[in-house]
Symmetry: C2
Subunit: 77 residues, 2 copies
């Protein structure tokens, strides 16, 4: 994969970080996934190693947890 | 300012995140500051709102704490 994936859950911290990441790396370089809404992708986020949102998975598969909005456990509810 | 500033302290988590950030946003778009070595810049990091490293301060002044390497208190020692 050549794009990064930004996972979030719609929280204020998530939205702020989303704006910053899009500004920094460019809208066309990142797919945005809201796992609070698109719950079918929670498993994919978990498999990538994400433990909290917002988080960015880089093209080489590294996870960058950015600030702290909510734990994945909280998103799963 | 138009560049981001990446503050770190030389820890393994910091170095890994530095590589990811440089790859994502480009070497020429980010200044790298090691506050473990350049201790005169710890105050500047603190004033920007950084509480742990690694952290990125965006051109508009937002702080993105990325993963967790060390608290600023630990860096200050």
């Amino acid at each position: 994969m050549s794009k990064s994936i930004f996972y979030h859950a719609g929280c204020p911290v998530c939205v702020s970080a989303e704006h910053d990441i899009v500004n920094l790396i460019g809208q066309d370089q990142v797919d945005i996934v809201n796992i609070g809404e698109d719950r079918s992708r929670i498993g994919e986020a978990e498999a990538a190693g994400i433990t909290s949102v917002p988080a960015l998975v880089t093209p080489n598969g590294n996870v960058l947890h950015i600030n702290f909005g909510a734990s994945l456990a909280d998103v799963k509810g």
